[in-house]
């Protein structure tokens, strides 16, 4: 990385309107680039281009999915329990007694294929920071995994690394793993799915939001230093198909530092308890670009940042790279000037580097300087919220009718049922998942009431905050998804995923309250994939309405394909439920001799 020959300042951009810019290489379409020019009334500086390209990427802007995801809002059932709905870092649900929980599931599929251990580890790290940024204490994780056939050589590379990465990171944070899935299917061979869920607990009156209000308030970046991790990853890595080229992108993977994240959790909780945080945002895929634009857009509209104050691990990083870096274990907070000293003291107690890098304004502009030169001057909302929206064409796959016409009646009847049963029981999809779950700590924090092999994880909400009254209240979660069903009928398949998770939560004795989801699909530019997506979302939204559980948040992962072959459409649905007294939980299996066995339903 050579240092910049020049700094592409705002005034330079104005003077050189025709300079060619690598927008296409950054994943931007020509009309998107033209729109940026239109917004700014000039060409963007290279830093501004970096910001728009990551913020308008599929990954950050949901440009292909937005029009469909709206149904989760328009069809949302009435719910008194919902404290914070979609649109924030994670939804928040009231579980009674002044307690609230927040939960969300997110994908880290592509990074986990490139570097299984680090990809999966940083997937856990990212979702945990999302939960922290709501003001909550993370209390449990779950993981929903899809791999190619168990005996395929690449699965032998990917699976152990992914499992070790999820365990290595989650175990080091002291978060019990209370459930998940492992599914094998040919279609995931070149594109495994790694979806991580985190659950957090907070007091109802302590919710934090990603907002930067109050001109004069300080913007603090804290956590690990910024390095050249995953530069370009947000727009390139996270949304491009895998091919030979991905090899060349390899050095830009992110690596995790779970120790720093664990300390960051405790540090944040102490900051929240001291009430010195006005707004907070985790640094995820689009790093400083995302945190600054989103905080500013949701606050009083403006922010001034001195980008040269960002503490670096590599002094040669250029401002564009700082803006796009995906270095892990970083957070950004908005703090009133009076509270800055106290904020810094708490960070020092935890040995956590923290730096004031800017200030909230009411100018309606996000302005950044680099050693005195103005390098970014944009209306932050145009990057954060007003990205392109595509209503992509979709069409029912040509083979869909043929697929649906297939009838199990036509399948040959096995002669030897016993052999067939043994073959099924021994098949990777049905066999015990203990090899995976044994690598995860399910005991830490001492509140795990049910984990593997129960249908849903069940956690007692006790001793979450110092001094809180002992409690028997509990939260149950289950994640489910079935790509084969969804391929056969995306509308019904998504509903079945919800129904299964809903039943699993009910089966341990909890009342289902809210839904999160991670929608893993192929390329949205393929009309047949887009049809699967649209149908699945419609199905899920309708089912949520019928069952009376609102979607509180989630994540969309597109471009899951090998070459031009998409994975099975895989909506993974997480349902959260509440139980007033965890001692009333229902355990899996037959626990008493002589008990009556009943079959419910048809």
């Amino acid at each position: 990385m050579s240092s910049a020959p020049h700094i592409d300042s705002v005034s330079r951009a104005a003077e050189t309107p025709d300079e060619r810019q690598p927008y296409a290489e950054l994943g931007m379409k020509t009309d998107e680039y033209v729109r940026v020019k239109h917004i700014l009334g000039r060409r963007p500086t290279s830093c501004e281009l970096a910001i728009y390209s990551v913020m308008w990427s599929e990954h950050c802007s949901y440009k292909s999915s937005k029009v469909h995801l709206r149904q989760f809002g328009t069809k949302a059932p009435e719910s008194d329990a919902l404290l914070v709905g979609m649109g924030e870092n994670a939804g928040v649900v009231d579980v009674g007694d002044g307690w609230a929980v927040t939960f969300k599931i997110e994908s880290h599929n592509h990074p986990s294929y490139v570097e299984p251990y680090q990809g999966a580890a940083t997937g856990v790290g990212g979702i945990v920071r999302d939960i922290m940024s709501m003001g909550a204490r993370p209390v449990a994780v779950m993981d929903s995994l899809r791999f190619g056939p168990a005996d395929a050589p690449d699965t032998r590379r990917v699976l152990p690394g992914v499992v070790a990465g999820i365990g290595g990171y989650g175990n080091s944070l002291g978060l019990p793993n209370i459930g998940g899935e492992v599914v094998f299917d040919e279609s995931y061979l070149g594109n495994p799915l790694v979806n991580a869920l985190c659950l957090g607990v907070l007091r109802k009156d302590q919710i934090k939001l990603a907002t930067a209000p109050g001109p004069g308030n300080k913007v603090v970046l804290f956590g690990n230093r910024t390095g050249p991790d995953g530069i370009g990853g947000a727009s390139v890595l996270a949304s491009a198909t895998f091919d030979e080229e991905s090899q060349a992108k390899r050095p830009s993977v992110q690596v995790g530092d779970p120790f720093t994240e664990k300390v960051l959790i405790e540090c944040c909780l102490e900051l929240f308890a001291a009430d010195v945080v006005v707004g907070i945002q985790d640094l995820g895929a689009a790093g400083v670009s995302c945190a600054t634009t989103e905080l500013a857009a949701k606050g009083t509209g403006g922010m001034d940042v001195r980008l040269d104050l960002v503490p670096l691990r590599d002094e040669t990083l250029r401002p564009e790279e700082i803006l796009m870096s995906e270095s892990q274990e970083r957070m950004m907070a908005v703090v009133t000037p009076e509270d800055v000293d106290r904020f810094m003291e708490i960070c020092a107690k935890w040995d956590m580097p923290a730096t004031v890098i800017g200030e909230v304004t009411d100018t309606g502009r996000l302005r950044m300087t680099w050693h005195g030169e103005l390098i970014v001057d944009i209306p932050p909302g145009t990057a954060a919220d007003e990205g392109p929206v595509y209503d992509r064409p979709y069409s029912r796959p040509l083979d869909q009718d043929e697929l649906q016409r297939r009838d199990p009646a036509g399948l040959p009847r096995p002669d030897d049922l016993r052999a067939e049963l043994l073959r099924l029981l021994g098949s990777p999809n049905l066999a015990s998942k203990e090899w995976v779950t044994a690598q995860y700590d399910r005991y830490v924090r001492g509140n795990t009431v049910l984990a593997t092999p129960a249908d849903a994880g069940l956690l007692r909400i006790d001793e979450v905050m110092p001094g809180a009254e002992p409690s028997t209240r509990g939260v149950a979660i289950s994640t489910d998804g079935n790509g084969r069903y969804t391929r056969l009928d995306p509308y019904a398949g998504a509903q079945l995923a919800l129904a299964e998770a809903y039943r699993n939560v009910a089966a341990v004795g909890a009342r289902p309250l809210a839904v999160t989801n991670c929608l893993n699909f192929g390329s949205p530019e393929d009309p047949e994939v887009m049809w699967q997506f649209a149908e699945a979302v419609r199905g899920l939204a309708d089912a949520c309405q019928t069952l009376g559980v609102p979607v509180t948040g989630g994540n969309v992962s597109f471009y899951n394909q090998t070459g031009s072959t998409a994975i099975l459409p895989t909506p993974v649905v997480g349902v959260l439920g509440v139980i007033d007294d965890v001692t009333n939980r229902v355990r899996p299996g037959f626990t008493e001799e002589g008990a009556t066995v009943l079959l419910l339903g048809e």
Partner: protein, 80 residues
């Protein structure tokens, strides 16, 4: 019998959380004057025959595919 040493270190651009944790601890333990610490792996590979070009090529391939994770690590070889 010959011994080939394979040293594996994280690429310089990759965060070395291990080295960082050590470096942060040193001043507390009274060690000053250390600018940085990086932690890597060292493998001692004993080969049956002499460390000729063919054998070294094999060990290099082994390092590339197994001992080092070239996504995030670099390695060097030397005969001891």
């Amino acid at each position: 019998m010959a011994r080939v040493i394979v040293d594996v270190m994280l690429k310089p651009e990759i965060l070395d959380a291990q080295g960082q944790a050590i470096a942060r601890a040193l001043p507390r333990l009274g060690f000053t004057g250390v600018a940085s610490v990086r932690q890597g792996k060292r493998f001692e590979v004993e080969i049956d025959g002499p460390a000729d070009d063919a054998a070294l090529a094999e060990v290099r391939k082994m390092a590339e595919t197994l001992l080092a994770n070239t996504v995030i690590e670099d390695f060097t070889l030397r005969v001891e």
